[in-house]
Symmetry: C2
């Protein structure tokens, strides 16, 4: 008799793998009605949770390595909390490694995880990562790998990302809807999909609203509070008219806010400012910073649930790796409330 899996229950109820996994683990995010349906279906199909738990535990160490650029960004620490919650519920332990945005450091972290005999690696790559020999090594060894947020294009690996094009579009459209017309966009020289996609979203929104795309208003540099501040100051010094700024991440937007404040320019009345990532400080500053939320905890939970599925399928012939794309959410606060 074929062994019943979480996937069979998911298919029967037409709900996701992660919903079933969390329902079986009595996760607070799942409604009682769903839990009841999952439990009844599990009983009816003859699903035995212990068996699956045992198969999930068939790895050598029950340790999953998570490698991230920088845990000082609340984006990453928040995703990690989501991953930890789901993996811990499924009897895996999470070890973390910070690459500090350096590709050689990232490679060292992967070596460290391989040496610790982790059962799998979940990663978000550095801004520098172009080559992929250390990631190829993971796959050569047959160790499950999953990317979240920042993935290497061209490497066939399951991933959980957000729709950054849509996020960039949303931020820009929000500014236009609020009546702003000359929108500066601050981005980076780094050729990372998450950033170029946001830029494309910015351009598409301008185009759709019949506003000109002016390359002079697209500024690139080392994303940071200092760079946001310097960019806004430079526009003011040059007398380049602008009435809004969309920065590709929140710290840069914060720098813009500080420069405007120093120059006694009223936000949001004279200039609107929106960032991206919904960093924790954004709701605490004055005016509170509008941003695009990336559903961080959910991203972590989805990444973990998808990874559990990958671990379960380990050794089976792989099809096209699954890719989950989450929706960005607009968080409109005072800095754009014209």
């Amino acid at each position: 008799m074929k062994r019943i899996t979480i996937e069979d229950i998911a298919a029967k109820l037409n709900i996701s793998f992660s919903t079933v996994a969390r329902a079986l683990n009595d996760h607070p995010a799942i409604s009682d009605a769903t839990k009841k349906a999952v439990r009844e279906t599990a009983t009816r199909l003859g699903y035995r949770q212990n068996k699956v738990a045992a198969s999930l535990r068939s790895g050598r160490t029950h340790i999953i390595g998570v490698i991230v650029p920088n845990l000082q960004l609340s984006f990453f620490s928040s995703v990690v909390h989501g991953i930890e919650r789901v993996m811990n519920e499924n009897e895996y332990n999470i070890l973390l490694y910070q690459s500090n945005e350096q590709a050689d450091h990232e490679a060292r972290g992967i070596d460290t995880f391989l040496q610790s005999r982790v059962d799998g690696i979940i990663a978000s790559i550095t801004q520098e990562t172009r080559e992929m020999p250390h990631f190829a090594e993971i796959r050569k060894r047959g160790i499950p790998l999953l990317f979240f947020d920042r993935a290497i294009n061209g490497l066939e690996v399951p991933a959980v990302v957000i729709d950054d094009f849509k996020g960039g579009y949303m931020a820009t459209k929000h500014l236009i809807d609020q009546g702003y017309k000359r929108i500066v966009h601050i981005n980076t020289h780094q050729d990372l999909a998450i950033f170029t996609d946001r830029l494309e979203g910015y351009k598409a929104a301008l185009r759709d609203h019949h506003l000109p795309i002016d390359e002079q208003y697209i500024v690139r540099g080392a994303l940071s509070l200092e760079f946001g501040d310097a960019t806004a100051q430079s526009f003011l010094d040059q007398g380049l008219a602008f009435d809004a700024v969309f920065a590709v991440e929140d710290y840069t937007a914060m720098g813009v806010l500080q420069a405007l404040k120093r120059n006694k320019i009223k936000v949001p009345k004279e200039v609107g400012v929106i960032g991206f990532a919904n960093e924790a400080f954004g709701s605490l500053v004055t005016p509170a910073l509008s941003s695009i939320d990336q559903q961080t905890v959910r991203m972590g939970e989805e990444a973990a649930a998808l990874f559990l599925k990958v671990l379960q399928q380990k050794g089976k012939p792989a099809g096209t790796p699954e890719r989950i794309v989450l929706e960005p959410l607009l968080v409109a606060r005072d800095s754009t409330a014209r």
Copy 2:
């Protein structure tokens, strides 16, 4: 012939072990003059760096596990950056584990590190940690252990901490010096030395300045933005007069700021607010939040340097474990600038 060690060079020059270690590694924090003196002394004494490097590397994995309550607090993520920098320079790799302030989770993290055969563990305990069997297990196995910031009293383990009594005293004295007289103190029910020491510092500063200690003005609860907000609101609702608040950590202080702002009470004119830990958001909010800085990166670097010493001495009869106490620093910003 006795082998020359870093300690011999340190003793000869009357400087610290960590200064010598960092000078030999060409650390940017060390002056060129010191580096020159260290190198000359090393040559004169016949010190051979490779030998020591090899002895440092004699562990099995070159992996050090760092266990912290929560990396979403910039205090911890900043200390970890300091630890990583020094340990990486000395060819160790750092793996991180978050206990999320839960003692059972902390025990699980220690198991995970032991299973990964780390060469040593650096830890800051949870607010819940009272029992110490899992820490005792580390020592029983002869694995080097070091605490930073939050240590278990009564367990003879090297530690790097700050003088929390002095920090609490400093924060309170600063408020008094600025002319504030009725100072609310927000603390926690948790019986953790770092928090009780800050409370004692608060009381001592009041005593030294002939201000009454009123138990009604010492409030305890679950430290958080919400609790700070609720505490300030409750004082206002009850009509309890106060002109300053010293919160034992910054998020709670931020909640106080938000409640005061909502009630149109002017900060710092009517009420002064100071926190503790110098979290990253403090300089970004308006008014900028005064706080006590804990020299986080230095704490991490000192912890790493002391730990390298412990790793080197492994197996030798242990004397009294070394304890480094760092000075807290007052960071006076707008929220207390009366």
